[in-house]
Subunit: 146 residues, 2 copies
């Protein structure tokens, strides 16, 4: 990061704290050799893992189970020209342990509308990066990371 | 798309019309062999191309010039459980033609804070896909695309 570009790098704890304030993020994965981006609601688990609840029959599960994916969240104030973005990168895996599945049914993200058979996908927070844009400075990408 | 998953596929014109209503999208590209996601403000050109303005010295320009990238926009109403998302996929290229650069200085996206030397990056809308979630149906990803 260039010290003059208006961005401030965020440490892991700051990133996770900001992520926890938004209900929806975007999972970035590969579908038929092309990048796919899908908004999903999610919950941040106590260890910083991203947990997504989806239908067992969804394409998403088959595409991401065992793959390294990125999960992006952001909040931008277009009037104030301020905001932040955080990206979690790590392996995604279907939760298969029954006890863990039961725990997530109680504490995990809720379905907006239930599917017949739901599963949880967990993204390990192997790499957590983020940056904050101070008001009055240039926006994300406009100056770009250096 | 599964007709029962609560999503409606959007045609190209619908996608571009929705994209034009939001000021910020996310450019998805490859940085050091890993997926990078960066929120940027943008303008939709008359031909549906995504135009981003950035510093000539930004890492973004070097990373995306000549590469195929994805550009995602969305709008989600978490209270109503409705929303849409659109992804444009195509080749990104630095605008080098002086006349085109001059035109974009007049009509293109504005800098939130000017950089010393600014350039425009154009993403060709080679593939435009999107979907809409009707209120009362399941959210993005929760049922997933089929």
């Amino acid at each position: 990061m260039d010290a003059n570009d208006g961005f401030r790098g965020l440490d892991r704890q700051e990133c996770l704290a900001l992520m926890a304030t938004v209900p929806v993020g975007r999972i970035v994965y590969t579908r038929q050799a092309l990048p796919a981006v899908l908004p999903v609601n999610f919950l941040l688990d106590t260890d910083g893992a991203v947990v997504v609840r989806t239908s067992a029959a969804s394409e998403l599960v088959h595409a991401v189970d065992g793959a390294v994916v990125a999960f992006e969240t952001d909040e931008v104030d277009t009037a104030a020209h301020s905001g932040w973005s955080v990206v979690v990168m790590g392996s995604a895996a279907l939760v298969t342990d029954p006890a863990e599945h039961a725990r997530l049914l109680r504490t995990g993200p809720r379905s907006w509308v239930p599917a017949p058979r739901e599963v949880f996908v967990r993204i390990d927070p192997e790499l957590v990066t983020g940056r904050e844009l101070a008001a009055g400075h240039s926006l994300y990408g406009l100056r770009g990371p250096s």
